[in-house]
Symmetry: C2
Subunit: 345 residues, 2 copies
DNA sequence: ACCCTGATTGCAAGCGTTTGCAAAAAATGG
DNA sequence: CCATTTTTTGCAAACGCTTGCAATCAGGGT
């Protein structure tokens, strides 16, 4: 009985050494054959590759990572698994990451996991970078990453920290755009349907709204914070606002899903005509915002661009870890559809 | 100038050896302190933990994985980044995986990546398991995993292979449920708005529909395959069906997003009343199906249960790799809302 | 044919852990 | 208090790869 044969016996895992033996070269040669710019002749590389193929060998990324100090892993920490926007965020991130020969290690802290703990878990895999789209990044966490020279970038959340890279939509400006549109179209009793009170995104969007209203000599008519970023939460929040004594004639919602809830409650429960009696503006521009049923006028976050910037920032810092942290606010754009009335002609 | 001090100099990464030195023990002790059931006294463990905390040490998962042959990584390969259902799938998977002290390595092949190639990439990280929710799993791939003793399970896709574990909704039965409901409620010209023709899910749902129709002495009135699982594709497909000479009076759609498209086209472009003139049944029961605007009657996939089964199957096979592959079809349930008319009283 | 240069190669020392084994220490029993 | 059993401990050998270094080789010029 032989110890190991070519072919496919369910045996010991095949290592560079097996390939080396089969190809009649050293392990170093095998390693070099699998390393793009390495010093190895075409002939041996071919030999090695042939042997590798026959044995169904592939380099062990763990061992390689251990040795090179580069795991080729990028950690992604996410909270928001309710907002469809984040499916597309993940789509773009994983795609961009793979394009660069990296892999995505994703961590979910939506069920009340602790961010710092999550980061610890992920750091154990010595990721080459960390993308965090979740509440505040503690200085502790930032420190841990800095010490290990691991680039972290806060995505679509603005920790307002000068110690960290952040890529985020310009939510304040976005809020202003929404306000300007509503004012321009003749709405006067404008309310804010925000997300959770601590979320920087919700705060900033509201801030922008209020700022622009005040610039126009108006003031915020009413506001409420939804318990979470979900359709249902949007409904209950909107119901509260619309049953006030003097209800708003327009609502700016902190995100599209909330807006859907508000829209449905307004139309189907309060019998209001939208945009006639109530104007609604959302935020994000998720896919379904353009569905006829909603046809939601909304502020679009440039997700793809944000992802691109995030990766770029990360790569840049991987090259030179002592760069000054940067905050990049990308501009949103207004997508007009059917929930805000047209300009008076 | 000292080589390394406690505190937080941005220096060499801190290893078990540093902790050992600081705690006055051997590296083995450190390792054992961090390994749950290991043979180590409470006193030394405490010492080690204290030193570790002071130095901000955490074990290197790569090295550990290399040594133990268990990376604690689970690979997830996904195609469908357009269907919101998959955000919740990811939510549940990442959560379940983390619960068990594992991490999720996710790979996106929606942009036309090759599954077998993706798997190769992921296998390099010597994942402890692989979840594949994408087209057909080639025997080649299955073989590679089997040889390496890596459990693979096909999720929400039925490769109809006896060589692999699969967890899937019972799509045929689901199709039948939809058909039965429509027939019962008096619809007679029932059409199928399928997804891509190769997808096992779309095939099976259609098969169920047709089967039940034939059992009732009816036949499929018409059918079409949408180009992809998206709202827009649903619209164009529905438009085609509804502009036939004798249009269907009910549509079973291969998934909710397609159904949304169909619903909107029917109501807003064809001016049809739903469910009066046209009945619509979707599949999945994604969050927004319950929105007032859609209030979609649909066949619910038991996602949470499916995820649970998938993980269970995987763990089981990790214990005993020579188990017979199993195919688990989980039953769907009908969620009646407003797009199919009520029973005649 | 000979020396010099630059491209390939193999050796061996790591990377940061875990773990079998045997020695040391602590606990137990008489 | 000693012999015996049970815990704890450290040593050193892996795990599968990369890489600096020195040795080897091929080629070019004279």
């Amino acid at each position: 009985m032989r110890e190991r044969d070519e072919g496919a016996p369910a045996g010991r895992r095949v290592t560079a050494m097996d390939v080396a033996r089969a190809a009649g070269v050293s392990v170093s040669a095998v390693s070099r054959a699998f390393t793009p710019g390495a010093s190895v002749s075409a002939r041996t590389r071919a030999r090695v590759m042939a042997a590798a193929a026959k044995l169904d060998y592939m380099p062990n990324a763990l061992a390689r990572g251990l040795m090179t100090q580069r795991s080729n892993l990028i950690g992604i920490i996410l909270t928001n698994f309710k907002n469809p926007l984040y499916l597309s965020v993940l789509d773009h991130f994983t795609h961009a990451i793979q394009q660069r020969g990296l892999r995505a290690l994703v961590f979910n802290i939506s069920r009340g996991g602790d961010l710092t703990e999550a980061a610890r878990q992920i750091l154990q895999y010595s990721v080459d970078g960390l993308i965090v789209s979740a509440g505040a990044i503690s200085p502790l966490l930032a420190g841990q990453c800095a010490r290990r020279q691991i680039p972290v970038v806060a995505f679509a959340r603005n920790p307002r920290s000068k110690d960290i890279d952040v890529v985020c939509a310009d939510n304040v400006a976005g809020g202003r755009m929404a306000a300007r549109l509503l004012i321009e179209r003749g709405y006067r009793r404008i309310g804010y349907l925000g997300g959770s009170a601590q979320a920087s995104t919700s705060q900033d969007r509201g801030k922008g709204l209020v700022g622009e209203l005040e610039d126009a000599g108006l003031s915020l008519h009413c506001s409420v914070h939804a318990s979470e970023y979900s359709y249902e939460a949007g409904r209950v929040a909107a119901r509260a606002l619309l049953s006030m004594d003097e209800p708003p004639d327009a609502l700016f919602c902190a995100n599209d899903v909330l807006a859907f809830g508000a829209l449905d409650v307004a139309r189907h429960r309060f019998g209001l005509s939208v945009p006639g009696q109530l104007g609604i503006v959302g935020f994000d521009d998720i896919g379904l915002a353009e569905a006829d049923s909603f046809s939601l006028t909304t502020v679009r976050q440039p997700i793809e661009e944000m992802v691109r910037e995030t990766i770029a920032l990360m790569m840049r810092r991987m090259e030179d870890p002592r760069l000054e942290p940067e905050t990049r606010l990308l501009s949103c754009s207004l997508v007009e559809r059917g929930t805000v009335r047209g300009p008076r002609l």
